[in-house]
């Protein structure tokens, strides 16, 4: 809380752009030096657009979004208390210190450094995750992958570059899935977005390797207000991975991203996220996908960190035979609230969906599953199954399941919901410890088993790291 107080005090010193000297360097030819201030005004929004040299339509879009942001009320559900405690005036909306301005390693909290050590993360990567350096992945790797993709006709770049170099595609699809009016935080992101990924996969193209944000870290994907847009053309396929299991230290108290996915006929998008923000961050993310005929969209979503997360990846099944899937885990430890879930909208016949949500709570943490299955009239033969499993590690923690269903069609429609709540009980631990395994290790095994349906969907290195992280959490070795 002290940090927040002091930033508030500083923010009163409302110097304008020339006062503070945080540098922001784009990785491309243009080098901007831009000085930030806290808080948000229309002028700042216009300046963001101006400095990025954006086309007029984007400037107008930002300004309009800013107006919507001001008008939109705060959501009156989820973590209301947490939401209302966000001080919008104390936030840097652009060119934050973690950008070009490098933080000193000494500023990174000890507990986070210890976790890096225990996870065995290479030093260069530690510095990136700690916000000390803006990049760590070798340029060579990045370039060779980019060349392979270019040969396939795949566009994989940061959003700012996409707007400059592929403005026709961006203009056609940008904000078509999540309009600024969707919610207050989508409006905020639309006004001040920066960074994020843009991917376009041409028809009949299977991108065999998962595209990872790691490879283009130098393009600043891990911003506060990143904006991601992925389009798979007919019968193409891509897997995108963002985030990482290791704690990501941020001095920013608000992370509010918007992610839009468009899966054309017969195409497949899998979007995997592991979020482990430091526990001062409000992580309020809007993620939505549209799946056309026989397309498939899968959200694999892991929320480990942050103070409050509110995130409900959605899939709109708009074409016959489309399939949507959300697989998520949430871990809520001391002082954390994970309010996560999923939303699937069946808007065409023969569409199918499945949701598997796993939540873990410990030390008074709170997790909420909030989900909606909507079946529109005439979406005959739609099938959906929802499964929510909660595992509580002690009696102080809470877990809530809020499944909503709106079913307008009956013909051939089947919607199933199943929820379980369990505890790591003493008898289970007694059994395992009686075989020579310490209690902490036994707990870790139970938990890793519980999240196994999630981890088995992750690439190996992520799965291993996630399991190690959970093991450390159990030993109370973190934070």
């Amino acid at each position: 809380m002290n940090d927040l107080e002091s930033t508030k005090a500083k923010s009163k010193d409302k110097a304008s752009f020339e006062k503070e000297d945080y540098k922001y360097g784009f990785h491309d030819a243009e080098q901007f030096i831009f000085k930030a201030e806290r808080g948000l005004t229309e002028e700042i929004v216009r300046n963001i657009s101006k400095i990025k040299n954006e086309p007029q339509w984007m400037t107008d879009f930002r300004v309009e979004s800013y107006r919507i942001f001001l008008e939109k009320p705060m959501p009156n559900w989820g973590d209301v208390k947490g939401l209302n405690s966000i001080d919008f005036e104390s936030i840097y909306y652009y060119l934050k210190p973690t950008g070009g301005q490098e933080r000193s390693w000494d500023d990174v909290p000890e507990d986070i450094k210890n976790t890096f050590e225990k996870l065995g993360i290479p030093e260069a990567e530690q510095k990136f995750l700690g916000g000390v350096t803006a990049q760590y992945e070798s340029e060579v790797v990045y370039h060779s992958i980019r060349e392979d993709l270019e040969k396939l006709g795949v566009i994989f770049t940061d959003m700012d570059t996409a707007l400059r170099e592929h403005s026709d595609i961006v203009k056609k699809y940008f904000s078509t899935i999540i309009p600024p009016s969707d919610n207050k935080f989508a409006a905020l992101n639309s006004a001040v977005w920066s960074g994020g990924s843009f991917i376009y996969v041409p028809p009949d193209t299977d991108v065999a390797i998962p595209l990872q944000a790691y490879f283009r870290i130098n393009a600043k994907n891990m911003g506060q207000f990143e904006r991601t847009l992925i389009i798979t053309d007919k019968n193409s396929k891509v897997h995108y991975i963002e985030g990482c299991t290791a704690p990501t230290y941020s001095t920013d108290s608000l992370h509010s991203a918007v992610v839009e996915l468009i899966a054309m006929e017969g195409s497949t998008i899998r979007y995997s996220t592991i979020q482990n923000w430091s526990n001062n961050v409000y992580n309020l993310v809007t993620k939505r996908a549209v799946a056309y005929e026989n397309a498939r969209v899968e959200w694999v979503d892991g929320n480990i960190g942050s103070k409050v997360t509110m995130k409900y990846p959605a899939v709109y099944l708009k074409g016959r035979g489309a399939h949507g899937e959300v697989l998520s885990i949430a871990y809520a430890g001391k002082g954390q609230h994970q309010d996560a879930g999923a939303k699937i909208v069946h808007a065409a016949p023969d569409t199918t969906s499945s949701i598997l949500s796993k939540s873990l709570t410990k030390d008074g943490g709170q997790s909420t599953y909030r989900g909606l299955i909507k079946v529109y009239k005439d979406s005959i033969n739609s099938k959906s199954s929802v499964k929510c499993d909660a595992l509580m590690l002690d009696n102080k923690s809470t877990s809530l399941t809020l499944p909503y269903m709106e079913i307008e069609e009956e013909r051939g429609v089947r919607v199933q919901h199943e929820a379980t709540v369990s505890k790591v009980d003493d008898d289970m631990l007694f059994f395992m410890t009686s075989r020579g395994i310490s209690e902490d290790d036994a707990k870790g095994m139970v938990i890793n088993g519980f999240i196994e349906p999630f981890t088995r969907e992750l690439p190996m290195e992520y799965a291993v790291e996630l399991n190690r992280l959970i093991q450390l959490e159990m030993q109370g070795a973190i934070g």
Partner: protein, 267 residues
């Protein structure tokens, strides 16, 4: 029995169950157990439902829901050749000292691969790393001896196992871990005749001059396969009668009620 080596000495053991949700709710279950377990011997503990048989094994292993209020459990320390109290040790520490307990209802852990659990257990008990290759080899021979379906190893710990498969898993762990004392808590329950025979054979293969067994059972039929050296009858949290294998037959003909009555009269 005087020239035999004492392995476990339970003396005037009083223990109560403490409700984990309400620490004030306590129920006395063991009311002064005296029991001596000798190296190389098979001890049968018999008694009616609710007599404290299972509690006794849980207390020896260190279940957190039981509290010892009086008495002691002492265990032979090979290094010092002395009997030392184990009541201050956690369950996994007792396991590392060579105490094993099989469960009436082994728990299942969804998502935890059987092989991962077994290898972790073995490495902890032996106090050293075991390569995957060596582990597989050892596992395979032990499973074959117990006529276990190799596909069980592709599953999660006890998840979806039949009653018989779970019991075999317990005996598999017993044979892998090679404890000095094995407490088998109603290992015969829920087994059909064939399974009982296979499980008993598995146990008998482990019988030697070093290892002690505590066989907890209601029924004679297990003891037809595994002949006990001594029999201890427990009722109302006390050992009320001790003797040789002949006690099993007496019990079978008279029933518990009669023996409990006799013991009460005698005291």
């Amino acid at each position: 029995m005087t020239n035999e080596t004492l392995l476990l000495d339970i003396e005037n053991l009083h223990a109560q169950y403490v409700n984990p949700h309400n620490q004030n709710e306590k129920i006395n279950i063991l009311n002064g157990i005296n029991l001596k377990i000798y190296k190389g011997k098979k001890h049968a503990i018999m008694g009616p439902n609710g007599s404290g048989k299972s509690t006794l094994s849980s207390v020896i292993m260190g279940h957190p829901h039981y509290q010892i209020t009086q008495g002691d459990i002492r265990y032979y320390n090979q290094q010092t050749s002395k009997m030392e109290s184990i009541t201050g040790l956690l369950p996994h520490e007792r396991a590392k000292k060579g105490i094993f307990m099989s469960f009436q209802n082994p728990v299942s852990v969804p998502g935890l691969p059987v092989t991962q659990f077994l290898r972790a257990s073995l490495q902890n008990i032996r106090g050293k790393d075991i390569t995957v290759k060596d582990f597989r080899k050892e596992l395979k021979s032990n499973m074959e001896a117990l006529q276990m379906n190799p596909d069980l190893m592709k599953r999660y710990l006890n998840e979806g196992f039949s009653g018989g498969e779970k019991k075999r898993m317990e005996i598999l762990q017993l044979s892998l871990l090679q404890p000095r004392i094995a407490i088998l808590d109603e290992i015969d329950s829920g087994l059909d005749i064939d399974a009982l025979r296979q499980v008993s054979e598995g146990i008998n293969r482990l019988v030697d001059n070093e290892r002690a067994f505590i066989l907890i059972t209601h029924y004679k039929r297990l003891l037809d396969y595994i002949a006990p050296d001594s029999v201890h009858i427990i009722a109302e949290g006390k050992i009320i009668k001790e003797g040789g294998p002949e006690l099993v037959d007496i019990l079978e003909s008279t029933g518990y009620e009669e023996i409990v009555k006799e013991a009460k009269l005698a005291s």
